[in-house]
Symmetry: C2
Subunit: 304 residues, 2 copies
DNA sequence: TACAACAATCGAATTAACCAATCAGGACGG
DNA sequence: CCGTCCTGATTGGTTAATTCGATTGTTGTA
C-alpha cells in the first residue's frame, strides 16, 4: 500500500489552483515558494501522476490535476469540519456558518433569521453572502460556503437539500387595475406586455412563470428589473403587474404603495424554499437544526 | 487557524479503535508502540479534546473519540480513493473493488458477474464478501467494503443506492401438490404449516412474505432453513412449499428435483435488487458502470 | 541588452518522526 | 508477599523530512 498524500501538500495544491501562481500561493500558505514547489512535486510523486504541465514560464493544471483538486478540496473540508467539531466539544451550534442566499429571498428572511439565531444560538456566527444561484453553487462546491438558501426546484448538482417551506406567488398590481380583475387571475384579462419580471439571472422569473402557468409570453414586457423593489415601484407607477413572493409581501414590500396582491393562476402558484449543502459534509446535524429555524420563518413550513 | 491533524495520526486512531490495544494497533500500522502512543496524544492536542479515557491499565474511547473515529474513517477513505484514482490515471475500472453480497443473491449472481467483469474490465479486481445485510452495512460503514448488492426495500442508513432490477418470487412445491393448486396461488388452498422460510436473519423471508401477501401466519412452518438449497430439498421431500427467487431458479436450483414454480399472490410478488454505496464516495462513476453490468444479469433490469 | 517575473534547484539549518529501552501501574500466580 | 507479565507512557538518541534563503535557468518585456 502506497503512502497517503499529506493534507499539507493537498492544501498547497488547492492554494496553487486558486492563485495560479507559486509565489502568491506560497504566501497564502505562509510558506516559502520553494517549499510549496517541492510540496507539489512531492504530491505528484506520491500520486504517481502529473498534476500540472510546466512550460518553463508558467503552468497549467492537467485534467487529472483538476480532478485531484476537486477531491482534495473535499478531503480538506472534511478534515476542517472534523477539527472544528472536536474543538467545539461537539457543540453543533457553535463557530462559523457560512450561508449563501439568493437576492429574492435574502432581504425578506435574513434579518429575522439572524436575530433568531443570535438569540437562540449566540455562539453560532453567521456569515452571509448574497449572489445568484449559479455563483452560490460554485462557492459551495469550492468550500467557500457551507449552506445555501435557494428557491426550488433547481438543479443542485451533486449536493443535497431539504425543502424548508412553500412561498406562494402573488400577482401584484395597482388597486385601480385590480378592481377589474377576477381571481384567480386569467391572464387574458391583462393587456399585452403588462407583466414585468426580473432579469433572467434570477431564478424567480422562471419559477413564477412556471408555477403561475403564465404560458402566453406576449403578456410579458421585455423590460426586466434587477430587484423586487424596482418591480414594485414599476407596478405602483401603473406600468403593469408583476409576481411578488409572499415572504416579500409579509415583510412589507407593498407598504406605502397602492398595490394589491391577487391570486395568480396555477394550482400551486408558489416556489419552494430549500437548504442546500454538500453531500460530503459531516455537519448535517448542525445544518438540520439551522434548517428548522429557517423553516419556522417561512410563510408555509413544509420541513418534516 | 489551527493546524489540521495528519492523516497518519488519524490512521493510528483508526487502528487503535479497531484493535483496542496499543501494541497490536502499532503492529498493524508497522510502527512502534511508542510512535502510535505519541501520535494519539498529538492528535488529542491538535483537536484540543480528549479522545480516549485512560485508567492506568487500559483505555476507553470517549463519545467524542468515537465521533472523531467516524469522521476520520471518512477522511481516510476519501484520501485512499483519491490516491487510487490518481494512480490509475483516472481509469475508473481498475484496481480493487470490494463487494459485499447477501447469501440469497450471491450464489446465483456472482459467478456470472465475476466472469463478465473479468472479460470486460480485466483490471478491475473484484473482492467478494458474503454476509447478512446488517453485517454488510457495518462493513460498508467501516470502509471495509466499497459496494453492497442487497435486496430492497431496506433501511440503508446514511448510504445511497441504485435500484438495479426486479427479482420475482415463485412459490415452489412438489409437482404432485402443484397439480391441485390454482395460480396465482391463494394460500387457503395450502394446509397449515406448509410454507417453509429461511431464518429470520435473511431479509428474503420478510421480503417474500410482504411481496407475496402471505398474511396468514398459520400457513408458515416454524422450522426455518439456513439457505435456499435446504428449502429446495425440503420442498422436494414433499414437506411443503417455499418461496424461491427467480434468479435462483434461472440458475438451476430446481434442476434434478420434482419441484415446479407457481405464481404467488401479490401484484408485485418480487424483491428489488439494489447496489448500495457510501454517500461520501467519490467513485460513483466506477460504481455506476459496475451497477450497469449487474443490472444486465438480473431477471428484470430496472436501472434507468 | 538589461531587467523583471517565474518556477526549479541546492545546501544548510531546523524540526519532527521514529525506535529501542525503560518506567510505572495493575493483575495474576505461587 | 514477591516476582512476572501485560498494559500504556516516557525518555533520549538517531534518522528522516521539512523548510528556508539564495541561486539558477528560462521566458517575456522594456
Amino acid at each position: 500500500m502506497s503512502k497517503l498524500p499529506s493534507l499539507k501538500n493537498l492544501s498547497y495544491l488547492l492554494a496553487l489552483h486558486q492563485h495560479q501562481n507559486f509565489n502568491r500561493a506560497a504566501q497564502a500558505c505562509h510558506v516559502s515558494q520553494s517549499t510549496l514547489s517541492s510540496g507539489i512535486q512531492n504530491l505528484e510523486e506520491q500520486l504517481e501522476c502529473q498534476l500540472i504541465e510546466r512550460d518553463h514560464k508558467s503552468f497549467l493544471f492537467t485534467a487529472m490535476g483538476e480532478q485531484v483538486v476537486e477531491q482534495a478540496r473535499q478531503i480538506i473540508t472534511s478534515a476542517e469540519e472534523m477539527l472544528h467539531y472536536a474543538q467545539s466539544q461537539g457543540n453543533q451550534m457553535e463557530g462559523p456558518l457560512r450561508l449563501g442566499c439568493i437576492p429574492t429571498i435574502g432581504p425578506f428572511l435574513l434579518g429575522k433569521l439572524s436575530k433568531r439565531i443570535q438569540e437562540k444560538y449566540p455562539k453560532l456566527q453567521l456569515n452571509i453572502a448574497e449572489d445568484t444561484t449559479a455563483n452560490l453553487l460554485q462557492a459551495l462546491r469550492n468550500g467557500e460556503l457551507d449552506v445555501l438558501i435557494l428557491a426550488l426546484p433547481m438543479d443542485i448538482q451533486g449536493n443535497q437539500q431539504w425543502v424548508l417551506g412553500r412561498d406562494p406567488f402573488k400577482l401584484v398590481m395597482h388597486k385601480s387595475l385590480a378592481a377589474t380583475i377576477n381571481e384567480p387571475v386569467d391572464y387574458d384579462q391583462l393587456p399585452d406586455r403588462s407583466i414585468f419580471l426580473l432579469e433572467k439571472e434570477h431564478c424567480l422569473t422562471g419559477h413564477a412563470v412556471a408555477a403561475c402557468q403564465l404560458s402566453d409570453s406576449s403578456k410579458i414586457n421585455p423590460f426586466t428589473a434587477t430587484n423586487l423593489h424596482s418591480l414594485v415601484q414599476m407596478a405602483d407607477a401603473r406600468l403593469g403587474a408583476t409576481f411578488i413572493p409572499q415572504m416579500a409581501i409579509d415583510q412589507g414590500i407593498l407598504k406605502d404603495t397602492d398595490l394589491v396582491p391577487l391570486q395568480p393562476s396555477g394550482r400551486e402558484a408558489s416556489r419552494d424554499i430549500g437548504l442546500v449543502y454538500r453531500a460530503t459534509t459531516n455537519r448535517r446535524q448542525t445544518f438540520r437544526k439551522f434548517a428548522e429555524e429557517i423553516a419556522d420563518l417561512l410563510p408555509e413550513n413544509t420541513l418534516k
